[in-house]
């Protein structure tokens, strides 16, 4: 009696344990992606963003499902870093969503690992190309194959804070000019601010951003990376570039130590500088961080290294791509087309994803304020716009961050320019050869 009882207990324990083990090892049935709400096809769609963008996508997807009653779309979203952590895991296990909002810096990595669908068979059919310029269509191309369509574009620009400039009585930087002109402007603001006893500087050390190096290289006919992914510059060029900051790092530009304290926002966000060079879609973020006291910003062209240079270019703020292992490529292409081209999506988003690249989508947008300013800016620099560089090399994000960190080390004085150049090239070597 005693023994039998114990046997039964042991069996029960074993049964529970096995069930637990199965649950732990993830043997639960995967969600079947068909037959929901009567739709013949169900697509998974993922994006990064916040609640505001999610509400916009809800509106856009509802319009899509109305037009295509046979297609149901499951939407999911996360913040940017989590979005990519999740995608990396899905990518290694072959379970990417059908349609994705996609970042330019990952395009080469994903396409070269055959994770994205070749869109060529769908171009001009499901995916309408009439409203997209060749320049835009070229952005999603890696190794002669189209993997993504850009939704919108940004260009490099210089933001200024008119209210702070007025406070210290300095004229706004007119845009263009030489890099020395810009340094002079930074100095004027800083001196005026010191005279007025205000904690304010004219700008930060612009040599901390790889994009400023890039536009200087482009002006000389070089590039950050060649088409085969090799560095397009040598140590001497980088040394010269970083040395440009030597004089403004001596208290002319905002000290790095002060920037460390406000990081991750920038000096411009924290109302500590009157100017900053960055992508032109950062305006809304700046106004958000500056707070209600600030309502307008200036946006002018960056300094130019050589008059007449085609140093600037349009960069996609984001793309849409389709997973290579989707079971419904045609329907996915329909969804991608709708997200890129339809005026309904334009109306839902405004410029939340940047200035729409598709003219039909742009027609759906009601422009005003900053959005209009950005459109006018991108028109004003058309003479300086050259071809976009090839899609970023695998590991570009790391390189960009490394460049930024070395810039902060220079600002803090813990490295010399020579040491920084050596470290950068050693890091580059690891990334390019891994």
């Amino acid at each position: 009696m005693f023994n039998r009882h114990k046997t039964r207990t042991a069996l029960t324990v074993a049964a529970i344990a096995v069930t637990g083990a199965l649950a732990l090892s993830g043997c639960s049935a995967g969600g079947d992606s068909s037959g929901e709400e009567g739709g013949a096809v169900t697509l998974d769609f993922a994006f990064w963003g916040n609640d505001v963008r999610a509400a916009m996508y809800d509106e856009a997807i509802a319009a899509f499902e109305e037009e295509f009653p046979d297609i149901t779309v499951n939407v999911s979203f996360l913040g940017f870093p989590e979005f990519w952590e999740k995608r990396q895991i899905e990518a290694t296990s072959g379970g990417l969503p059908d349609v994705l909002q996609f970042d330019y810096s990952y395009l080469r990595q994903y396409s070269e690992n055959n994770l994205l669908l070749d869109l060529k068979p769908y171009l001009g059919k499901e995916i309408k190309t009439d409203a997209l310029s060749d320049q835009i269509l070229g952005i999603g191309v890696v190794n002669d194959t189209t993997y993504g369509i850009a939704t919108s574009t940004n260009a490099w620009g210089m933001f200024q804070n008119p209210k702070l400039l007025e406070q210290v009585g300095v004229e706004a930087y007119p845009g263009g000019g030489s890099w020395d002109d810009y340094k002079k402007y930074i100095g004027e603001v800083t001196t005026a601010a010191q005279g007025a006893g205000v904690e304010l500087w004219g700008g930060n050390d612009y040599t901390g951003r790889i994009q400023n190096f890039e536009i200087q290289l482009r002006a000389e006919g070089d590039s950050l990376f060649t088409d085969d992914g090799e560095p397009g510059f040598d140590k001497e060029q980088l040394k010269e570039f970083w040395a440009q900051g030597d004089d403004i790092r001596q208290g002319v530009a905002i000290p790095q130590q002060r920037l460390e304290e406000v990081y991750p926002v920038s000096g411009f966000d924290a109302a500590l500088t009157t100017s900053e060079l960055t992508w032109d879609n950062f305006g809304a973020g700046y106004l958000g961080n500056l707070g209600e006291a600030y309502t307008e910003l200036g946006l002018v062209a960056p300094p130019v290294t050589k008059e007449g240079a085609k140093d600037l270019y349009l960069k996609p703020s984001m793309l849409h791509t389709i997973s290579a292992n989707t079971e419904h490529p045609k329907e996915s292409a329909e969804l991608l087309n709708f997200l890129v081209n339809s005026p309904e999506v334009g109306a839902a988003f405004g410029t939340n994803r940047g200035l729409p690249a598709s003219t039909t989508q742009l027609d759906g947008v009601e422009l005003g304020g900053l959005d209009e300013q950005i459109r006018d800016y991108e028109e004003s620099i058309s003479d300086r716009l050259g071809d976009a560089p090839p899609a970023p090399i695998v590991g570009y994000g790391t390189i960009e961050e490394k460049f930024r960190l070395l810039g902060t080390d220079l600002g803090l004085g813990v490295l010399t320019v020579d040491e920084a150049v050596e470290q950068f090239f050693s890091e580059l070597d690891v990334i390019l050869n891994s």
Binding site: A10, V13, A14, L24, Q88, R258, G395, L412, V414
Partner: protein, 331 residues
């Protein structure tokens, strides 16, 4: 209740001869008796209960550890298959990565400076609190409180705000005429700031010291006092030796913990390891190599070097402990 062979079902006489001769253990009996069977069932039940833990242990701890040991000798970016590169990761670490060496340097400073100060603070406060009256419980809890919340994200955020330019610390020091500005962005002050944060979380070793202090027999102090020993001598010749096993335990634990400093540094620097790499402690750098740069092979190699270094540190402590740790009554 005992299970003798005759209790319920006597085994049929024919069975043993129908089978091949039972294997005999050295000096063993004929297998399997009912007693053995019930032992086996008990074992089975035992393993059944252990199974969930075993699955976790092998699936989530041992398995990943072995895989990471393999990855340490590969170049692996999550996308393409790991590529065997032998000892390249380790060579790079020690000969071609100045950031790694710097990270090791500041981690060692943090461990070697921070841990002794923290233990001294913990012991000092434990001695102050080692009395018994109405308020003692309240004070003990109050002093322990920072350690309960110390590891949390919120405290690191508060710490960052406190030590920023024009923050309370800067303001207080300025009031005293010391103008050093903010600590958070200052290359020279951010490590001391991290050490102060660690020392402030002295609660866990303090509680253990308190328990240890209570074990020191009062008659030893009385005897020492009668021999004319002052407070310092009593501390040196009675408290310290009697407390040495507890000191050893705390030292070991805190050293191992200090090597693994991550969350406070990660939050205070917003994940950047700045300013100037001065909060880029070992695990912060490891995390960045793995999850920001996707250099999983390199990060695995770093992790194994850390395991080995911590093991060596523990071994050294154990070895030297024979000389200074006294277990009461042993000698």
């Amino acid at each position: 209740m005992t299970n003798t062979p005759v209790s319920s079902k006597p085994a049929p006489v024919t069975v043993p001869s129908a089978r091949p001769a039972p294997v005999r253990r050295a000096g063993g009996r004929a297998a399997p008796s009912q007693k053995q069977r019930s032992t086996r069932r008990e074992n089975l039940a035992g393993y059944g209960f252990l199974l969930p833990w075993l699955v976790g242990f092998f699936g989530l701890t041992v398995g990943p550890m072995l895989i990471s040991l393999y990855l340490a000798f590969t170049s692996y970016n999550l996308f393409t298959d790991p590529e065997w590169i032998g000892f390249d990761n380790f060579t790079r670490m020690f000969t071609d990565d100045p950031i790694y060496m710097k990270s090791v340097g500041i981690t060692l400073i943090y461990v070697l400076v921070g841990t002794p100060i923290k233990l001294a603070a913990a012991l000092g406060i434990a001695m102050l609190l080692n009395y018994r009256d109405a308020g003692s419980g309240f004070f003990r809890s109050s002093f322990y409180a920072p350690s309960l919340i110390g590891a949390s994200v919120s405290v690191a955020i508060v710490w960052r705000a406190m030590f920023a330019a024009n923050g309370p610390v800067d303001g207080g020091l300025s009031f005293l005429g010391i103008q050093i500005g903010g600590w958070v962005g200052n290359v020279d002050l951010v490590v001391p700031m991290m050490i102060i944060l660690a020392v402030w979380q002295f609660g866990a070793p303090m509680v253990i010291f308190l328990a240890g202090l209570k074990q020191v027999p009062q008659e030893l102090y009385e005897a020492a006092e009668m021999d004319g020993a002052g407070p310092f001598r009593r501390f040196r010749n009675v408290t310290l030796p009697m407390l040495s096993p507890v000191i050893f335990f705390n030292l070991l634990l805190e050293t191992i913990n200090a090597f693994q400093i991550f969350s406070s540094a990660f939050i205070i620097s917003n994940g950047s390891g700045g300013p100037g790499g001065m909060t880029n402690f070992y695990t912060v750098y490891l995390y960045k190599r793995a999850f920001a740069d996707l250099q999983m092979g390199y990060a695995s190699a770093m992790a194994w070097v850390l395991v080995i270094v911590v093991a060596i540190a523990a071994l050294v402590l154990f070895r030297t402990s024979k000389r200074w740790v006294h277990y009461g009554g042993d000698s």
